[in-house]
């Protein structure tokens, strides 16, 4: 199963269209594919819209020189469209962020960050990235390969 990735040549970002579903609400978003992020992160406003609770503290995350308190959440489903026209549902633990200070500027800065699909998700997929020929996609790894990687 393959998922098409779309290259935004103006912003120089790789993006994937998805639906994110929490127990409370579903929203459509563009996820930015970021191999430099170890975790999948949801934008602040979107996390509020999805009613994700800031309960399970999960360490400090630094982005662009600012530090944020992260919270983990395991009840999110992310829906992808396969290139064959089917939906693929993945349960991925996500992190949501809050500023460590109460400055409004910090909250605005945090809210300007996109939703990020991180390396935790990419462990389940092979990334093919040929920007020149616009052939960019994720391909689900076979279950036995995933099991071998988990064993190692």
């Amino acid at each position: 199963m393959k998922i098409k990735v779309i290259y935004d040549s103006e912003l120089h970002l790789l993006k994937i269209p998805v639906k994110i579903k929490s127990p409370h609400k579903s929203i459509s978003v563009f996820l930015v594919l970021d191999t430099g992020s170890p975790n999948t992160l949801l934008n602040y406003t979107d996390s509020r819209t999805l009613n994700i609770p800031f309960i399970n503290q999960s360490g400090i995350i630094s982005i662009g020189g600012s530090k944020y308190q992260s919270y983990s959440y395991n009840r999110i489903e992310i829906y992808f469209k396969s290139t064959e026209g089917n939906s693929i549902i993945e349960n991925i633990p996500v992190k949501v962020l809050r500023p460590t200070s109460s400055r409004i500027d910090d909250l605005d800065e945090l809210d300007s960050f996109p939703n990020i699909l991180g390396l935790d998700f990419l462990k389940k997929y092979k990334l093919v990235c040929d920007i020149k020929n616009n052939e960019i996609y994720l391909e689900r790894l076979e279950l036995n390969k995933l099991t071998q990687e988990e064993d190692n």
């Binding site: 994937i16 829906y79 939906s87 809210d111």
Partner: protein, 79 residues
């Protein structure tokens, strides 16, 4: 109510449109959060939270749009 696949198809079309027009969109909406629906910008605001208020005023539910943050012109964002 739309099916999951219909929602995904719409979101994909909106993303393709956005990627093809992100230069022009950035010229007009750099530094703002925008709401995208049916391959057009239907609302914008300085922050995502303010944008939700604008959508409320327009009677548009968040689930009907894609919200995207637009970097300022010339700004390269590294996360």
């Amino acid at each position: 109510m739309k099916s999951d696949l219909e929602m995904l198809e719409e979101t994909e079309q909106n993303l393709i449109w956005f990627a093809e027009n992100s230069g022009k969109i950035r010229e007009e909406f750099g530094g703002k959060a925008v709401a995208i629906k049916d391959r057009s910008i239907v609302a914008s605001a300085d922050t995502g939270m303010k944008l939700l208020g604008e959508l409320d005023k327009l009677g548009i539910d968040r689930s009907e749009v894609v919200v995207e943050r637009i970097p300022n012109k010339g700004e390269i964002r590294i996360f």
